[in-house]
């Protein structure tokens, strides 16, 4: 089987998610080549052929142009499978590439067993076993599902690509960096995060007190940030910060894949959540199935004494 891996970069540098694509190819026993745009300053550490386009020819952020070039390469390479991350870049490109190849797409793959692609559904409470019917297949991989065991190494054989001129359908006006604040969640030894299960904005204070009592920082899952209850700089997950504290306490967090992607490097994970089937139970070392409105005050009381 031949795989084309669609690497990801930002501002000339390869993103770490790219290495999960290579790990997936290794696990399914595919021979692979990699396509990437705009990674000249920090090429992927990858032992194989790297088909490299620069951003001057197909745009730093231009999904139609990137997808058209990737599909052309997939055809030329005669790839049986095209592999992307289940990330904003993958969401943009994968369906366009799949359509160009007449391929079926399987999104958010977490496992592969002899031609069957396993994907999560219902917020991790169900697994679906997918069998594409098309000769060629496009897949996106759940972040973290195919993390390589060893740090990446290798030097690619670079082949430079020239993108054909494209009609301008998508124009980048500006890039906005995440707001810089004093919070450094990535270095915190303790992170105590609030999720939708805290129920109301007043309860954020409770979670914050627990964080303070443990000498840590307040974190949050996406819905709590979207609701405006906690500032965006404290969001943990693939659209926020990645954290790796000694202690991570998830309060009322279901554990959606995008949140877990940002905290699975934590050494010791405690979940406070009354739902025994919440996907957070898969990563938590301790699951306290107790209402946080009762448990957190009890914890604060004991920590005081």
């Amino acid at each position: 089987m031949k795989a084309l891996l669609i690497g990801e970069s930002r501002k000339g540098k390869t993103l770490a998610a790219t290495y999960e694509l290579a790990e997936f190819a290794r696990r399914i026993g595919a021979q692979s080549a990699m396509f990437i745009v705009d990674a000249e300053d920090d090429l992927p550490k990858y032992d194989g052929r790297l088909l490299l386009a620069d951003s001057s020819s197909c745009g730093q952020i231009n999904p139609p142009a990137h997808a058209a070039l990737a599909a052309e390469v997939a055809n030329r390479e005669n790839a049986d499978i095209v592999v992307l991350s289940h990330s904003p870049y993958g969401w943009d490109l994968a369906p366009l590439i799949a359509r160009a190849l007449g391929a079926g797409q399987v999104s958010e793959v977490v496992d592969y067993q002899e031609g069957v692609y396993v994907t999560p559904a219902l917020n991790g409470k169900m697994r679906l076993f997918n069998k594409p019917r098309t000769p060629k297949v496009v897949v996106t991989l759940q972040s973290g599902a195919f993390a390589p065991a060893d740090p990446p190494s290798g030097a690619p054989q670079v082949e430079k690509l020239q993108a054909p001129a494209q009609e301008k359908k998508y124009e980048l006006v500006a890039l906005e960096e995440p707001e810089a604040t004093g919070v450094d969640l990535a270095r915190a030894k303790v992170v105590v995060s609030a999720g939708r299960g805290v129920g109301k904005v007043e309860n954020i204070e409770l979670v914050k007190k627990l964080a303070e009592a443990l000498g840590g920082e307040l974190g949050a899952s996406r819905p709590v940030v979207d609701a405006g209850w906690v500032e965006a700089s404290r969001q943990v997950g693939s659209s926020g910060k990645a954290v790796a504290p000694k202690l991570y306490i998830a309060c009322g967090i279901s554990g959606a894949a995008q949140h877990v992607a940002g905290m699975k490097g934590s050494e010791f994970v405690v979940s406070i959540n009354t739902d025994p089937e919440a996907p957070i139970t898969e990563v938590a070392h301790v699951n306290a199935l107790v209402d946080l409105n009762q448990l957190i005050p009890a914890l604060l009381e004991k920590l005081k004494g």
Binding site: A103, M126, L172, V173
Partner: protein
Amino acid sequence: MKILVCIKQVPDLETRFKLNAAGDWFEEADVAFRMNEYDEFAVEEAVALKGKLGAETDVTILSIGPDRVKETIKKALAMGADRGAHIQDDEPHRKDPAQVAAMIAAYAKEKEFGLVFMGLQSQDRGSAQVGPLVALNLGFNLVTTVVGFEYDSGQVTARRELEGGLKAVVKTRAPAVITCQLGLNKPRYPTLPNIMKAKKKELLTIPAADLAPGDALNIVERAAPPERKGAGVILEGDAAEVADKLIGMIREKTGLI
């Protein structure tokens, strides 16, 4: 301008799901359904744009599924949309994203929609494919993962998320498909008078077969609950006792307390 908003009815994710008899999805008995959260932002954005552009803007809500999805369409009508189109399909989970997109495009073509809003993904299956495929089917421009949206005489300016908190401001032209990320706006709650008004709004039902879904490119052979890899300790019962045990475990494992 005519605006199409595609919404999906999804099960409440707090449910303890059981496998259905066919073994390919969940058993629906006793499950509560509601609007896919991402789609609430899509409805709000369309209705807010109608508020800005004026009465000649017409918002159609489309949803695919069995009769129960009409309730979700009515909620969107009560939020301020003008009319509903219910694509009648008793087993929507048997359709793959390519078929769903084919049906939406078959409905939308020649209706001259200027904008199509929908959620970035559904909360139950989350393929994130339908928006891009609808854009391809209709020949529309596409912006995904949108957290900020402005429209001015055919010009779309959108803030979209990239990875790790980075965002990009991009421009494209209508007609366009916009897939909405959580946090795009503050979806309104339908008021009682608007709920009453919604009952009188047009809600057409169209059989799925009339919209030529075509063949699935991907088949879900079976479904199963995940193997619980988590060998985590379970603590239940009295809060004070659980707090004692928990502090003991944290002290032992991390040395932090």
